[in-house]
């Protein structure tokens, strides 16, 4: 059955003995995703204005990194207390979000002023602070932001250490693990999903960054490359493919497909084609992983993010300076033909079971 409303779904589960009693109230706090996005953007704008206010109002006090840090920590703490004191208040949530973002801006300013020549230390400091905020602030939109900002800070640290090639692959592995375990840790689902959405958005950012910025993956002909960067590029790109293959292996296990079955190996082989193509087009495997995770978990928003990541990556890949257009052309066309060939084999090995009145293939 596909229940159309909470009551009929509850009755269906009750009939199967999965639940007892009356269904709990759904409440009004479960906002659709686009309302949360709207609140997040508005909170960010409000936070910018509050940060300017604090910066201007306290300009005589904010003369040192320590003053910035203290003010930022106080503002963030006030925001966390507001979130905890009024978790169901829309006004408190929006004010808390804006205050927290302003506070984070002040903490970032403090770290940048205290460590002017050490970008990686600033980034690691910010990622720690975002992790603390993620744990201590019980708000979905704020947790998505903290997770995204913390992951992006780590990406910047990796770039400072000349290890940026690892960013997308590591994030893809983290996303795959969390989304695959979404139902396993369902009790903490809201917290887990907020973190996973933040990491997924950071993964899309990392993939776009790698396609756009020359030398981000150190793939081809970038001057002044540090020693060993070719190996980093290979291993980093390989991590994305490993994430995709690991994810598909996990999904096949979840779908109870026999470990030694031919179907299992054929599906893994088709995924291997994409993983191999990702060695030269590193965004393909992470974007595909997002799409598959979205479909597998019945999460249409995540699947849409995967489609957007895939389309966006192909668009940006055109402008990537890491390889010539001829090289990219050969890679994409060959991979595309391999996938179309895999579709033909799919029809042969796994024919569609036609439903009454369905003439489409």
């Amino acid at each position: 059955m596909r229940a159309s409303d909470p009551q009929s779904l509850w009755s269906c589960l009750e009939a199967e003995g999965l639940v007892v009693g009356t269904s709990p109230p759904t409440g009004v706090s479960a906002a659709p995703w686009f309302v949360r996005v709207m609140l997040g953007i508005a909170g960010w704008i409000g936070g910018l204005f509050l940060m300017f206010f604090v910066g201007l109002a306290l300009k005589d006090v904010l003369q040192s990194p320590a003053a910035y840090l203290t003010t930022g920590l106080v503002v963030c703490t006030a925001a966390a207390m507001l979130f905890r004191a009024q978790p169901d208040s829309d006004f408190a949530s929006q004010l808390g979000l804006a205050l927290s973002l302003a506070g984070q801006g002040l903490v970032l300013t403090a770290l940048t002023k205290a460590l002017p020549n050490n970008s990686s230390a600033v980034a690691i400091g910010m990622s720690f602070w975002e992790a603390i905020l993620f744990v201590s602030v019980p708000n979905f939109v704020h947790r998505v932001w903290a997770s995204w900002a913390g992951a992006c800070a780590i990406l910047f640290a990796l770039a400072d250490w000349h290890l940026q090639a690892y960013g997308p692959g590591l994030l893809a592995i983290a996303c795959a693990w969390i989304w695959l375990n979404e139902f396993h840790y369902a009790r903490w689902g809201a917290t887990l999903r907020a973190g996973a959405y933040g990491l997924t958005l950071a993964l899309i950012f990392a993939v776009a960054q790698q396609a756009l910025i020359p030398g981000a993956g150190w793939w081809h002909g970038t001057a002044n490359r540090p020693p060993g960067s070719d190996y980093h590029a290979w291993i980093g790109a390989g991590l994305g493919g490993i994430a995709l293959l690991g994810l598909i292996r996990g999904l096949l296990t979840r779908e109870a497909l026999e470990p030694a079955s031919g179907a299992r190996w054929r599906i893994l082989a088709a995924a291997g084609v994409l993983a191999a193509a990702s060695l030269k087009a590193p965004g393909l495997a992470p974007a595909m992983a997002i799409l598959l995770l979205g479909y597998a978990n019945g999460n249409r928003l995540l699947a849409a993010l995967g489609v957007a990541a895939l389309g966006g990556y192909l668009f940006l890949y055109y402008y990537s300076l890491e390889a010539t257009l001829l090289y990219k052309s050969t890679l994409l066309a060959t991979t595309g033909m391999a996938l179309l060939g895999a579709r033909t084999l799919l029809h042969k090995w796994w024919p569609v079971s036609r439903q009454p009145g369905d003439s489409r293939a």
Binding site: L9, A333, G336, A342, W350
Partner: protein, 321 residues
């Protein structure tokens, strides 16, 4: 709220045991069955394969070939279009594979037009390339009956309008400004949105999907919001029609998307538009005096977004009952 979210929420509320979650999700058909997976993989391999092959061929043409003559380049580009149309003819437009081939043909035609412009240096402007492309694929888009094809066509027309205002000097002595560009894009996308919604109400095909109207409503709302912001920030040069148009847009969105179609997505966009306009207005008039202006604007944004979020959440809860 969809079944998946409801069930996950019940687990968090401890109304449903975590061990019962897989069974509950299966009963609610919230997760794909093996047959669903079969169809999904079929579509995924088809569209991704087609997208990669099409991208590869377009990249191939864009490569600055010295060894390849004009005849070879044009033969290749035309063969791509003809090959895709051959697939359309063989597969038919009722099959997803036929639609994918038609989508590819539309993209290849754009690549062919770009090649003509690149090779012969006809003096044509970029907007003419996009305009010709949109005009030439229009019959295919009409017979394709696919929302994705329509979105591609609308994106090409938007690009043509944008480039038109970037390259042409003013007509009749009047200078072309950003405002003219925004008005034209707003009028086109709003007209397309109304047409789409009108047709979707009558036709039980792909036009019923909400993706197209949501994309168009986002574009239409963004352009009218930009017009009002322009009016606020540049009040001496911008026309005074932006605000009335925006108010009409908001009222129409409220009427249509609360009564006729019921789509909160557009209303959420409307709330964001109000926040942006009010923040821009107060930022212009309050922030150049002292720091207190920033506090006032920040609090106004917080208040408006909290009120908007509360309203939208109550509407969503009401729609679910």
């Amino acid at each position: 709220m969809d079944a998946r979210r409801l069930i996950l929420r019940w687990v968090e509320q401890e109304a449903l045991a975590p061990s019962s979650l897989p069974r509950a999700l299966a009963l609610a058909e919230a997760l794909p069955t093996q047959e669903n997976w079969r169809r999904f993989l079929d579509r995924l391999l088809l569209w991704l394969g087609m997208a990669l092959v099409a991208s590869g061929l377009i990249f191939f043409l864009a490569y600055n070939w010295k060894e390849l003559g004009r005849l070879a380049k044009f033969s290749l580009a035309e063969a791509m279009v003809a090959g895709a149309m051959l697939f359309v003819w063989r597969l038919g437009l009722d099959r997803p594979s036929g639609k994918a081939a038609l989508f590819g043909a539309c993209l290849f035609l754009g690549a062919l037009l770009a090649l003509i412009g690149q090779t012969y240096q006809t003096g044509a402007d970029t907007f003419e390339l996009f305009g010709s492309w949109a005009a030439m694929i229009l019959p295919w888009v009409l017979v394709g009956r696919s929302s994705y094809l329509w979105l591609l066509w609308l994106a090409i027309v938007n690009a043509a309008i944008t480039f038109y205002f970037q390259v042409l000097p003013g007509r009749f002595g009047a200078p072309i400004t950003t405002e003219h560009q925004l008005w034209t894009l707003f009028a086109f996308d709003t007209g397309a949105l109304l047409l789409w919604e009108g047709l979707a109400a009558r036709r039980p095909d792909g036009l019923r999907q909400r993706l197209g109207p949501r994309v168009l409503a986002t574009a239409s709302g963004a352009f009218v919001t930009a017009l009002v912001m322009l009016q606020i920030l540049d009040e001496y040069r911008a026309s005074a029609f932006g605000t009335p148009a925006w108010l009409v847009w908001l009222a129409a969105a409220l009427a249509i998307y609360r009564r006729t179609v019921k789509d909160l997505f557009v209303l959420a966009g409307g709330v964001l538009s109000v926040i942006l306009i009010v923040a821009t207005y107060f930022a212009k008039h309050l922030t150049h005096t002292d720091s207190g202006g920033f506090l006032v604007v920040g609090l106004i944004v917080v208040l408006l977004s909290a009120a908007g979020g509360w309203w939208l959440k109550h509407l969503a809860a009401g729609d679910e009952q």
